[in-house]
């Protein structure tokens, strides 16, 4: 994709040169027409650049439009309403005779039940555990590599952490499923081998490099004079890192954490493999959990195209997209505010 625009740009500028040189030779009043041509070419170039720049925006907008189009029947289609409405997805539903209404996710059933709550709670629960696991590791690791580590250590640690981002999530998932889950169960005597903690740790491994890299960038961006001032006051390296550099970089680190949270909410493969996938409405981290993306991945392959179940899965997709966009927007806004308050240049 990147080759095309640069080529067309080059063509545009090449055209400029030949056109202007010819213009000099042919016309009696070269200055006016040359200016006009230049302006035209300038406009064309700007258009091309605009077009390229808006491709990314267009992609997001179109994905959203596509999801929304498939999810829309939840509001309008009578055929879908026979099985499910937004109300049924939000409020508890009667589920067994003699038992109180419950938030059940049982889409393949005589009376299909599509409660969102267990999936949403599950998605947040797993992502939170991933954060609890990943944030200390990643942030402290970033402080260490950028502030304290000798250069030789830094040159090993940094690429190693970044390499972690290159491990396919399905491989991580496989490791977590086959090895880690059994060890954790033996260690803590858990009833469920696959549970939220296991999946959360697996997810944590995938977001450590995200948070680490961005935090490291934020720390490195703290102006050198802050450190020099701290050293001049007699602070040690550790003290400087902890009390001066880390607070100064906090908006960037906060943004990194929120971005990691968004990644964790959307990550599919590891949770699909290691979470047990049972849709239980509970904050208990030792129970299995079913997340929104895992549900879409597990169920999309088999549903009737355009049917109620299909529509509900697209509603889930819209919800997930809105959640991640919302989190990113929120973090952007908060970071800007934090930066203004700190008055820093980081």
């Amino acid at each position: 994709m990147e080759g095309v625009p640069s080529e067309s740009l080059r063509e545009g500028f090449g055209g400029l040169e030949t056109a202007s040189s010819r213009a000099v030779a042919a016309t009696p009043d070269p200055a006016g027409s040359r200016l006009r041509r230049r302006k035209a070419i300038d406009r064309a170039a700007r258009w091309i650049i605009t077009l390229i720049a808006s491709t990314a925006i267009a992609a997001v907008a179109l994905i959203f439009l596509f999801l929304a189009r498939e999810a829309f029947p939840i509001l309008t289609s009578a055929a879908v309403h026979e099985e499910v409405t937004l109300g049924k997805m939000i409020f508890p539903q009667p589920w067994r005779e003699g038992e109180p209404a419950y938030y059940a996710w049982q889409p393949v059933s005589k009376v299909p039940k599509y409660s969102l709550l267990p999936l949403l709670v599950g998605t947040f629960k797993v992502a939170l555990i991933a954060l609890i696991f990943a944030v200390p590791v990643a942030v402290l690791g970033a402080v260490f590599t950028s502030e304290l580590a000798p250069r030789r250590v830094r040159e090993i640690v940094k690429p190693a952490v970044e390499l972690l981002a290159g491990i396919p999530s399905v491989v991580l998932g496989f490791f977590v499923l086959m090895v880690l889950a059994t060890h954790l169960q033996d260690l803590f005597g858990l009833q469920y081998r696959l549970n939220t903690i296991v999946a959360g740790i697996g997810l944590g491994l995938t977001i450590v490099p995200v948070i680490f890299t961005l935090s490291e960038d934020a720390l490195t961006a703290v102006p050198q004079r802050y450190r020099e001032a701290a050293f001049a006051l007699g602070a040690s390296r550790t003290r400087t890192a902890w009390s001066v550099v880390l607070p100064a970089a906090s908006p960037g680190i906060f943004a990194a954490i929120v971005l990691g949270f968004g990644r964790a909410m959307g990550e599919t493969m590891i949770v699909l493999m290691a979470s047990g996938n049972a849709a239980i409405l509970s904050w208990d981290p030792t129970l299995p959990v079913r997340t929104v993306p895992a549900t879409i991945a597990a169920e999309m392959g088999e549903v009737v195209v355009g049917g109620p179940h299909w529509t509900v899965l697209f509603v889930l997709g819209v919800l997930l997209l809105l959640l991640t966009i919302g989190f990113n927007g929120l973090s952007g806004w908060y970071v800007r505010r934090l930066r203004q308050r700190l008055g820093g240049t980081s």
């Binding site: 996938n277 049972a278 088999e302 009737v304």
Partner: protein, 292 residues
Amino acid sequence: MRLERGILLFVAILALASCKPPRRAEGRDPSRGPSTLTIKGSDTMVMLAQRQAEAFMEKNPGVSVQVTGGGSGTGIAALINGTTEIATASRPMKASEKAQVEERRGRPAVEHAVALDGIAIYVHESNPVPHLTLDQIKRIYEGRIRDWSEVGGSPGRITLYSRENSSGTYAYFKEAVLEDEDFDPRTQPLPGTAAVVNAIARDPRGIGFGGIAYGGGVRALPVKKDESSEAVVPSLETVTAGTYPISRKLFMYTAGEPTGLAAQFLEFALSPEGQQLAEKAGYYPLRPTNRE
């Protein structure tokens, strides 16, 4: 400003372009490739169709049979859309699906029973429970029986495993054993029988279900139809004789009476040779074959 208007215009153009609904491929021309046959559907039946397809291709040089899984629903959807000639399904087609086939393809769906399958109830090999009745299994999966000691095992909370709700095995179990009641929310769905067996082999308190063809580290429990009947071990004999309580037919569907290659293939699948292949692949022939 101009730039912003440009962006908006570009997005709008793309949006308009995407609005033309790229709806579903047209029905496949049956004469498209006279030498190609596609079979799509039940994951349970992939092995069956694959073995039969291999032998069929060997007997008919120049013919190519493509077998893919995805699940019974996927196969039936493909039959409705006309992207497969034969749909395999480990459950009978629903009335709504039959209506869709007739509507979209202009011909009624034709059902061909090709083999039998049984659902085995798996527990860890160290689990001392001697057998379970259908009713006990149902109550276990509904979450009404929660401890192994309630069904004659050693005390310990039962961990429930099932198949993903997109699988034919799930639908069949739910219908035949749970009588359409819902699963306990704590039931952990897994993507295949191999995954179920693998999970139970690592979980002494686990119970799960799946095809009979699998094993290792787990024990297939004898099942009683009710309190007074005999406990039956899932096996070739008990499934074909129909005495094992959780057994089912496996189907292949065509839109209209099969013609050409599809007809030849189905004939082969039902021939003694095809049935023997089914048995070798871990399924059960429709009738006990004459085995010397």
